[in-house]
Amino acid sequence: MLKPTDTANPEYFHKVVDCQYACPAHTPVPEYIRLIAAERYTDAYMVNWESNVFPGVLGRTCDRPCEPACRRGRIDEEPVAICRLKRVAADNKSSIADRLPPIPEKKNGKRIACIGAGPASLTVARDLMPLGYDIDIYDNQIAGGGMMRSQIPSFRLPLEVLDEEVNYILDMGVTTFFDVEVESLKAMLEKDYDAIFVGTGAPRGKLLKLPGLDEAGDAVHIGIDWLSNVAFDHTDKIGKRVLVLGGGNTAMDCCRTSKRLGGEDVRVVVRSPFADMKASPWEKEDAMHEGIPIYDNHVPKEFVIEDGKMTGMLFEKVEAQYDDNGKRSLVPTGEDPVFMEADDVLMAIGQENAFPWIERDVGVEFGEWDMPVVDRVTFQSTNEKVFFGGDAAFGPENVITAVAQGHQAAVSIDLLLRGESVTDRPSPLTNLLSQKMGVHEWSYDNAVESDERYVVPLAPLDKALSDRKLEVELGFDQSTGYKEAERCLNCDVQTVFEETRCIECDACVDICPTDCITFTANGEEAGLRSRLTGPANNLAQDLYVSEDLPTGRVMVKDEDVCLHCGLCAERCPTTAWDMQKFLYNVSKAGHAA
């Protein structure tokens, strides 16, 4: 027997909002999408800014874990273009100066150091400055933003957009120490900060030590170092023939940047099969669109040196074989090694953390893979004053994860400095509100549009390739943004069932376009799933089960492919169904527990 669903537990409805649930920062996605459709761009931007701090940056570069999770992708070919809609809000907003949180003139007397000025540290500062803390940020680069500045190329993320959003935070009165390498945590601790946040990222690029490496000399570059040299104008050209080794997003940025710095024959060479590459499908598409071929199943073997100069590389061809457990091995095909000519080779085969500057006797314990021991909820290390977040905490991830962790670390720091337990986390702020306006009228647009996903227009290829700072994507214009916004199903407008009103007339069962609703005898989940109106094979999606009804049956709703169209509620003669908007906001520092 399944127990009746406890909808008072905020996690139940939260999970129904697939995008928000999948977002590491739990941005209220449908809420801002509706605001975009209503042309309230500034409001839409602020919903984002509160939650993810860098809407303009993320609207262009986010890894978008929300999109594969989007409900629309389960009923339509493609999910809503959630990420690019965020950009519509950022591009069309008006000034937000009057909406930024006030910063107290009188400080609370507590001092915090943030080491690294990437998105994780900046988020900590954003959350704690309005509470009256004094914050010092240290970074070895000349400006804030971390890898958003040094790694993500300008043709994907214009500097103005980054500067604007970094400055909203720095302008809160953060004290910056740029171009400063922090060389000792002990020394930092001795400065008597009340708390230290380590947001130094995963700054070390990996190098493949293959035969010929030494002779190849400066024809071989580490991808992330090279990208950062380009970003800071230390490098402005590359040879005509470039090999980029690796299949992740660094490889994609390296190859596309090479094309803009004089590379003519630029190739990506990767060991794994194309489908297994780490880069997102859209990143691979973007690279190929720019005329960059991807050679998969090629394992680099050696640098070929002639007369003391690198002329290219040798690769061994392999094929992927999978054992019974699905574990992959790359088995040589036995073909002759493949030689590819090259003037330059960029290694984009991964990044590592490196903490040479953290002494091992300052109370910060290190564990597996020489990584600090960090609590996954509080982000506190074994030294109660020292917190980690972003790539520094658990290895390379992405901007939105760094932001989410920054928020949580800020909550912990605030709790610690107020003398409370860091494990006493504040609950999320939630609100459930009926959308009923009249008998059959809703305050949200419940019609479900059938439009296919809109494609973001691009700058002409020849122009884009001749200027490394020219943004490739042009973003949706307002009218396309509106149409794309209308594809959103409003998954936060929940179907709420009130069993005492139901007369079991079946009207909701009959009208539901996607067969979500069933009245049947309760039972074990597997058996119950087999008896539902529509196939209910997606076990990741919950069943909403009511209390017993007068006939002894229960109402079971499979949340999987509900369109949130409200037809069940429109057809219900007794208003046993209602459409109610569920807002869920992760608690930030300063929201009392």
């Binding site: 389960r74 079991e504 009207a507 009208i511 376009p513 007068p550």
Partner: protein, 350 residues
Amino acid sequence: MSYQIPSFRHPDLPVNDLGYTRADYEGSISTLCAGCGHDSISGSIVKAVHELSIAPHHIAKLSGIGCSSKAPTYFLGKSHGFNSVHGRMPSVVTGAAMANRDLLYLGVSGDGDTASIGMGQFAHAVRRNLNMVYIVMNNGCYGLTKGQDSATADEGSASKKGDPNPFSAIDLPGMALQLGATFVARSFSGDKEQLVPLIKAAISHHGFALIDVISPCVTFNNNPASTKSYEFVREHSEATGTVDFVPMKEEITTRYHAGSPHEVTMHDGSVIHLNKVDENLDPFDRGSAMMTLQRHRDAGQILTGLIYMDRDSRDLHDVLETSQRPLNTLGESDLCPGNKVLQTINASLR
């Protein structure tokens, strides 16, 4: 207010033998009141026809006037349809069926449409054993004209705004039995488990098949004093038993053992199995069916399920020895067979 159903359907909808999903059998969005029993019956029709793998263009749905008679717009959107005059659906079906015996005729009517203005038409369709399914969406009132008592309203039952009904009710299954109907069943809009197999059996039946489906009118006749409300019907119905419908193609592998007394091979080769609950009912005996029906009536119960079925039914075409082919397929040579044939006919009359 939504005027359109979203175009999306469940991505894993099962397909039938023709490759169609249930969506291919839907109609447009209902304009009936929210919660109307008629919509559930529409849903059951869609489910039954889809599961039987009948091509939509092989079906003609016909109706008279009333909320119930509007219902065909809300199912089988790709089938033929005829919305006739109040109470006149049976004569339109008669004409159509005579002209084209290859279509499945699905008549949909209301209790007003059938038991008041259309009573005469109904009686003759039954009596002639027209090969059709006749579904009455029976709510005990004239829903479309704002809920006046109909001729099927039980004595003493009161609608939302009305006084207790002083007249005795017409019991359509009882009447149909009296008139010689060859398939009689009753069901409830709120019980799809019973209704869907009954619709399938009615479709497979060769001859006139009546299903009287009690279908609450939520707006005018779903109040506590009404005997056609969801609650009253749920509390007072008694099923004759359950019906399992086994389409012909599955028969070979079915687990039922052949020759059991409660198993009927239908005209089209499919089989229905009756799992009887009421031991006193012999559904193949008209007298027993009439007695059982009356007994339940006397006890204030509503008898549902398959009530009677004639296994040797001969429909109007059989009796009249009509053309085996639809008239629209007859060509000139069929219709004007020439002088030689005429001479033979003439000779036979001398």
